[in-house]
């Protein structure tokens, strides 16, 4: 948990005061909508179909129990009793009134929460692995670097009016759970041949209208140089990114147009004069930020305590949950627990205020007061003692967040779609809900194995459909809702964009099509433990296309 000090709190309070003034000037007409819009966006305030939407940053996906309680309070006091967790580790409230926003932000600020830079043409929430700090395969905690970058990029005077939004992700594990290769800047902390830790810097990844996997422009950047190098990249982008066409304004277009090598040269030219300046990170500064991350006072426990083995043997449902939703912790005797926000029939990633309060209490009791938000729109309790798992499971089950479908076919990632979003072509949530009903049989879901379905209601790809094992993209044809289906995408260290399966299918048939794709997989897989993604890789798209479109 990163602990805010007076400086951090003062900054947020000053931001709230500034926004309160800006809202007043807007409501009085002193500011036009054109002048106000970028200002409200920089505080995470969108205008959607039915209402304003407030997007709150959850820096690197880490929340304290008190912060989760504050989110529940905001949901109750200012919204309609629920919130939506997003694919960038943020939370969204869909019904907030502009006039009440300054008060809501003041409440959030008391808990160290804010919406700064969750929208607008600036650097957005810096995301990382939801298992940061507890994953067995990480070399060190990536959140320290995410926090250093957060401070560099918050209210940065030079980079608050970039050509377009800018997203950075950091990973420090062998398995990339932060999708760094599809971000504007992806940072992979790793060890070089000499055993030193440093960053692979990847630039120009992104989804949306023109998806790209990012290019490595610096295979190994020493930690000391992280901030100055990122500043150099931003400076090149700020100056040379396109401003004439919003669909060509992301850094991925600049990198693609210049070529990775030429782009890297521009960055070097900006970087050399500043690399030894005020942004060079000395060990004292790194240590100060690291010291603000408090880690739990873990007990010395054994793996697989007897009460766990007994509970597993005694209850099949508990055993299934254990096998599905509980992952290994780097420390013996502990576990990482994922809470599914994808129960049958529910909008993916939503939690009620009630659930948030209950989860906060459980976090206090079983997870040293800490919760994580994953980009798959689930929550995580990262520090659970294995001996507490049976009791925790019973409590999670009662509040509806223990569906053992993590990583399975019904663990669907979906944008809000046309039910909420003014950019959408199609609805997405009802499709996700229908799919959770079609695949409700958990035995089937377990048999299918790891299968990520991603749904985006438009080309902006907030559902990350390009990197779904099965991706659904909402398009409009003759005023009707249709979906393009892609298969074989992945977001990890071997990131790849999905391939188009065939002609777009109508809304009313898309769930049938997904069932047919899954049926094709069952027919084509070489062995039960060959997952969908591997089958697609092995046989290609054609066999799937034949089977799915045979009768269409």
């Amino acid at each position: 948990m990163y602990l805010y000090d007076d400086f951090d709190r003062t900054l947020v309070a000053e931001r709230v005061a500034e926004f309160r003034d800006q809202v007043a000037r807007r409501l009085s007409g002193e500011l036009t909508e054109e002048e106000f819009k970028p200002l409200r966006l920089m505080n995470g305030v969108y205008l959607q179909l039915h209402a304003y939407m407030l997007r709150i940053a959850i820096p690197y996906g880490t929340l304290s129990a008190d912060q989760l309680r504050m989110l529940a309070h905001v949901a109750r006091r200012y919204d309609r009793n629920y919130g939506h967790f997003t694919t960038r580790q943020n939370i969204q409230f869909n019904w907030i009134k502009l006039a009440e926003l300054p008060d809501a932000m003041a409440d959030l600020a008391r808990a160290g929460l804010h919406g700064m830079q969750t929208s607008g043409n600036c650097v957005r929430n810096i995301t990382t692995d939801q298992w940061a700090g507890v994953a067995p395969d990480e070399i060190e905690d990536p959140r320290i670097w995410a926090e250093l970058l957060r401070q560099l990029t918050t209210l940065h005077p030079e980079f608050s009016f970039l050509p377009r939004k800018f997203k950075i992700a950091v990973t420090a594990a062998a398995h990339d759970r932060a999708a760094v290769r599809v971000h504007d800047i992806g940072l992979r902390l790793h060890r070089n041949g000499a055993g030193e830790a440093g960053f692979e810097v990847i630039v120009g990844g992104g989804l949306g209208r023109t998806p790209f996997v990012g290019k490595t422009i610096k295979p190994f950047l020493p930690k000391r140089d992280l901030l100055s190098y990122v500043e150099a990249i931003l400076r090149v982008y700020n100056q040379f990114g396109r401003r004439d066409n919003i669909y060509k304004a992301r850094i991925k277009i600049l990198v693609h147009d210049l070529g990775a090598e030429a782009f890297a040269k521009e960055v070097e030219a900006e970087w050399q004069p500043i690399k030894d300046g005020a942004l060079a990170l000395d060990p004292a500064v790194i240590a100060d930020v690291a010291a603000r991350f408090r880690y739990p006072d873990y007990a010395a426990l054994d793996d697989n305590p007897p009460e766990l083995a007994k509970a597993r043997a005694g209850d099949r449902r508990f055993a299934h949950w254990l096998d599905n939703s509980v992952a290994n912790h780097k420390l013996a005797g502990y576990a990482i627990v994922t809470l599914s926000l994808k129960p049958e029939g529910a909008p993916p990633g939503d939690a009620t205020a009630e659930q948030m309060d209950a989860i906060a209490d459980l976090a206090d009791r079983y997870s040293f007061g800490e919760i994580r938000v994953g980009h798959e729109q689930n929550l995580v309790l990262p520090h659970v003692a294995q001996r507490d798992l049976p009791a925790l499971w019973r409590a999670l089950d009662k509040i509806g967040v223990a569906t053992p479908n993590i990583g399975l076919v019904t663990d669907i990632i979906s944008c809000p779609g046309l039910d909420y979003c003014s950019l959408a072509n199609t609805r997405s949530i009802p499709v996700a809900q229908e799919l959770t009903r079609r695949f409700r049989d958990l035995d089937l879901a377990r048999d299918l194995g790891r299968l990520h379905i991603n749904i985006s209601g438009c080309i902006n790809a907030c559902g990350h459909h390009h990197v779904g094992h099965i991706g659904l993209l909402g398009v409009e044809k003759n005023g009707e809702e249709y979906f393009q289906v892609t298969i074989g995408g992945r977001a990890d260290e071997n990131a790849e964009l999905g391939a188009l399966l065939g002609p777009a299918v109508p809304y009313g048939e898309v769930a049938d099509v997904v069932e047919d794709v899954v049926a094709a997989y069952l027919e084509l897989r070489a062995r039960p433990d060959e997952i969908f993604l591997e089958t697609v890789k092995r046989v290609g798209v054609e066999p799937f296309k034949e089977r799915v479109y045979a009768a269409r």
Binding site: N121, L155, L162, I274
Partner: protein, 177 residues
């Protein structure tokens, strides 16, 4: 439009000479980039102050050779959303050491004042009178700054260490970097 310098509305003593008109002797002028470069040998000999209006689409490195003859550089915000001039300003101040007047022109609004000041601007052609009057209040909005820029405001990392030093009471030697 009001010119703000040193936190107050002031008279603009510079004449804009943006066309082919002859440049008056003895008067401070602002001329376009192309003219500065084309007529530089004449302009370099001027006694009165010379300023240039530099477009946000041209690299500041092209302006660098002329800087020590310039008293003023005016940079442009065609719309306040176009942030290129922030980078130009920082490069002029921090890389090229420009000490003259650095003026923000174009769509210059109140909610960007502090960013502009932090980027190195010290003069502002402010679009709205009400904004000009509110300049001092606008730049006092924040007391905490996370990152160092060229403006000398102490970034939070250093502020924390100094705060910690004070809290410890006795003056302690600055840790060598």
């Amino acid at each position: 439009m009001r010119l703000v310098r040193a936190g107050r509305v002031v008279e603009d003593r510079y004449l804009r000479v943006l066309d082919e008109a002859p440049i008056p002797d003895g008067a401070p002028v602002i001329i376009p980039a192309a003219r500065l470069i084309a007529d530089f040998t004449d302009i370099a000999g001027r006694e009165a102050a010379t300023g240039v209006l530099w477009p946000n689409s041209r690299k500041v490195s092209e302006l660098a050779p002329y800087l020590d003859r310039l008293a003023l550089v005016a940079l442009v915000f065609p719309t306040f959303k176009d942030g290129r001039a922030y980078s130009q300003a920082r490069q002029l101040r921090e890389r090229h050491g420009f000490r003259g007047e650095l003026r923000a022109t174009g769509d210059v609004l109140r909610d960007q004042f502090l960013f502009l000041v932090r980027a190195g601007f010290d003069a502002f052609e402010v679009k709205k009178d009400a904004d000009a009057a509110a300049f001092a209040a606008a730049i006092a909005r924040y007391s905490v700054f996370y990152q160092p820029a060229g403006d000398g405001r102490i970034a939070v990392q250093r502020a924390r260490r100094e705060h910690a030093r004070h809290a410890l009471g006795a003056a302690q030697p600055e840790t060598a970097r």
